[in-house]
């Protein structure tokens, strides 16, 4: 088994080897930021279960199989494989990345409307380095601001690792008042090589003032060797803009998926996020949202469907920094066989954030006696002028409903499907985009039909 120390040496050496080839390597601010990031990672190491934020995900359990870094020269991926993995392709502007590297051949960006830029960090760093410095270089989300005033980098060491090593993924820039009709679909395929592979996808979305955009991220693929995806997505929602951000995390069971979404909302802006995860042996989806301008509106939803030995961790944190903000969170898990699910969600209302509203709900459906769920919704309210509520449930399927359906001739399998679909459907139907709802429903049917 590799020790954390040897991992450190490995990453440090790797960083040394690739840093001059990373996009924007000649930009001083960027190489400084990357050096700072790798140092932070080396200082902190992998987050351990002793860190509150990581208490449900044990990285070290996996560490002996921590794989090498992905290279652009990966195995061939055929278009039809992608289509099959995608299940159905929603009309969209599509970019495909394989092991974190852009793959032109598989992408189908189509005709972009005026005011929508869809490109890679590599290109943006050449064309608009100042913009990138503002949004990409600034390591917001590097530090956990503890209430004690302490700033703690430990929970963010995987973000730091991504920032240091990522070859630069997609950049989406939506101009002021532009609302593209089609969603942007980013497909991240992992193709595991003989030795396994680690990829560092990094995504940036900037929604200009008054703009409106839908982003779907899909993480799929797999292979016989263990592999790791360490994803970072940054979203900046400028004044009055609306971002609808969906994610499907559906890699194979050898995958180890860690992802962090960092979202900043300016005043009067709306962010609506929904993560659908049914893949990966171990997955952890983290979302951190800051309502920095007045009247920010944030929805954070999630669906996690697990079976076998899957471990699915959901971690959310919303900071209401400015007044009159509203947050709604609904996470629902369906866990079968020996799957484990965790939800830890915190909404912190800072003293300045008067008249804030927050609602948090986590519900778990356990379909087997061995499945387990941990739930910890949490509100941290630092002023009196707020309306907040939270709740969580863990239970099995309602036997009365099941019997009612069966007494009408619906066989048990279909009855269970209807009830479970109704359970997750409540989350799916909150998605503002109808085609995405349909997509998520299909993913649900596929997942359900694979029950053993």
């Amino acid at each position: 088994m590799l020790t954390a120390k040897s991992h450190n040496d490995f990453y440090f050496e790797h960083f040394g080897n690739i840093k001059s080839d990373l996009p924007g390597a000649k930009l001083q601010w960027l190489s400084r930021a990357r050096t700072e990031a790798i140092e932070r990672f080396l200082d902190c190491g992998y987050p351990t279960m002793n860190v509150e934020e990581w208490k449900h995900t044990n990285l070290l359990k996996q560490s002996d199989s921590f794989p090498v870094m992905g290279e652009p020269s990966v195995n061939e991926v055929a278009e039809r494989d992608i289509e099959a993995l995608l299940l159905d392709s929603i009309p969209s502007h599509r970019m495909v990345f394989v092991n974190g590297f852009f793959c032109q051949r598989l992408s189908d960006v189509g005709a972009l409307p005026a005011g929508l830029r869809l490109t890679t960090a590599g290109e943006m760093l050449v064309e608009q380095p100042e913009l990138m410095e503002e949004h990409w270089g600034q390591p917001w989300g590097f530090l956990e601001h503890r209430l004690s005033g302490e700033e703690d980098p430990k929970p963010h060491s995987m973000v730091a690792l991504n920032m240091a090593l990522s070859p630069g993924g997609p950049v989406i820039h939506v101009d002021r008042d532009v609302s593209p009709e089609l969603p942007i679909h980013l497909v991240n395929v992992v193709v595991s090589e003989a030795s396994g592979v680690m990829s560092q996808p990094r995504t940036l979305l900037i929604a200009g003032e008054g703009s409106g955009v839908t982003l779907l991220e899909t993480y799929i693929g797999g292979g016989v060797q263990p592999h790791m995806v360490n994803a970072l997505t940054q979203v900046r929602v400028m004044k009055g803009a609306t971002v609808r951000h969906y994610k499907h995390q559906g890699e194979g069971s050898n995958s180890f998926h860690l992802a962090t979404n960092l979202v900043r909302l300016d005043s009067g802006s709306t962010y609506s996020g929904c993560v659908f995860s049914n893949g990966g042996g171990i997955s952890r989806n983290e979302a951190r949202v800051r309502l920095e301008g007045q009247r920010g509106d944030c929805t954070l939803d999630g669906i996690y469907l697990g079976r076998g030995q899957q471990h699915m961790d959901n971690w959310t944190r919303v900071d209401h920094v400015a007044p009159y903000g509203e947050t709604r969170e609904m996470y629902k898990g369906v866990l079968d066989e020996k799957a484990e699910g965790a939800f830890q969600g915190k909404v912190r209302i800072w003293p300045e954030a008067i008249a804030s509203r927050a609602q948090q709900l986590n519900k778990n459906l356990l379909l087997s006696e061995d499945a387990r769920a941990f739930s910890k919704p949490e509100l941290e309210i630092l002023n009196d002028d707020v309306q907040c509520a939270h709740g969580s449930t863990i239970g099995d399927l309602d036997q009365e409903c099941l019997f009612y359906l069966r007494s009408r001739g619906v066989d048990e399998f279909v009855a269970r499907k209807l009830l479970i679909e109704a359970f997750v459907g409540e989350v799916i139907d909150r998605a503002p985009d109808v085609p995405i709802r349909a997509h998520f429903r299909k993913l649900f049917y596929q997942w359900f039909s694979q029950a053993s």
């Binding site: 036997q399 069966r406 619906v410 048990e412 209807l418 009830l419 109704a422």
Partner: protein, 249 residues
């Protein structure tokens, strides 16, 4: 058609049915009355195959075969239907999905062609009209937020759609206003056929003025203690159940 023989059933270790005997021929409509807690709903549930009942003795023979080993959905396919005393709410499932899934499951099992979306709509509209229900109930979640009377009508709607051969109506009249009672009774009467039998559980003779039974039985303390014609219902309305229950219940 259906014969219940010496049926003993316990729930949670409590003896509820203590030797029920009942025989219902094709096309017959029987009423079961009896005090609260006497085991009427338990009998209905046992007929429909609900879990949790310990059948200690006896049998239920339907069309010459025992029902007891059949799963609830199999019984429904065979034509058994229970209108629940307390219809169940299913959040997140629309009444349309619920009905269509059920109807098509049952039709497929019976070797009938499944309804397409349009055929289904056509059928259900007809039944809705007969029960004076609005189409809006289709888009609502199953029984969620329904008034007591709406729930009962929804049960009868399901019965009409599923075309059972043996229907048990457990207090379908309670919670209905006078007009609704007539509408529901009409609906039930329209479903009466020479090859369709019914067991109607009720507390009130009034229902039996509209739905005239072939026989009336009194269930008390888990047994049929008296059977008679429809005039028995009138007698019970006058005298109550003191003769059967007493203090021992």
């Amino acid at each position: 058609m259906l014969e219940i023989m010496d049926l003993h059933a316990a729930v949670d270790g409590k003896q509820v049915l203590r030797g029920v005997n009942l025989k219902i021929g094709p096309g017959e409509l029987h009423a079961v009355m009896g005090p609260n807690g006497s085991g009427k709903s338990t009998l209905a549930y046992v007929l429909s195959g609900r879990d949790g009942y310990d059948i200690e003795r006896g049998d239920i023979i339907y069309d010459g075969k025992s029902l007891l080993e059949l799963a609830p959905e199999k019984r429904a396919e065979e034509g058994i239907f229970l209108a629940f005393q307390y219809p169940v709410e299913i959040p997140g499932v629309s009444n349309a999905t619920f009905l269509r899934t059920a109807v098509n499951c049952v039709r497929a099992a019976r070797g009938q062609e499944e309804f397409s979306a349009t055929q289904f709509l056509k059928e259900v509209r007809m039944k809705l009209k007969a029960l004076e229900m609005t189409e809006e109930v289709l888009s609502r979640q199953v029984n969620v937020g329904f008034s007591g009377g709406e729930k009962k009508r929804n049960e009868v709607l399901q019965m009409a759609m599923l075309e059972p051969r043996f229907a048990v109506l457990d207090e379908t009249d309670s919670g209905l206003d006078i007009d609704a009672l007539k509408i529901v009774a009409d609906g039930v009467n329209k479903l009466r056929r020479s090859d369709r039998s019914m067991l109607i559980i009720t507390h009130y003779q009034r229902l039996l003025d509209y739905i005239v039974p072939d026989k009336v039985h009194v269930l008390a303390k888990g047994r049929i203690v008296r059977s008679g014609g429809k005039e028995l219902a009138v007698e019970l309305e006058e005298k109550g159940y003191s003769e059967f229950s007493g203090a021992a219940l």
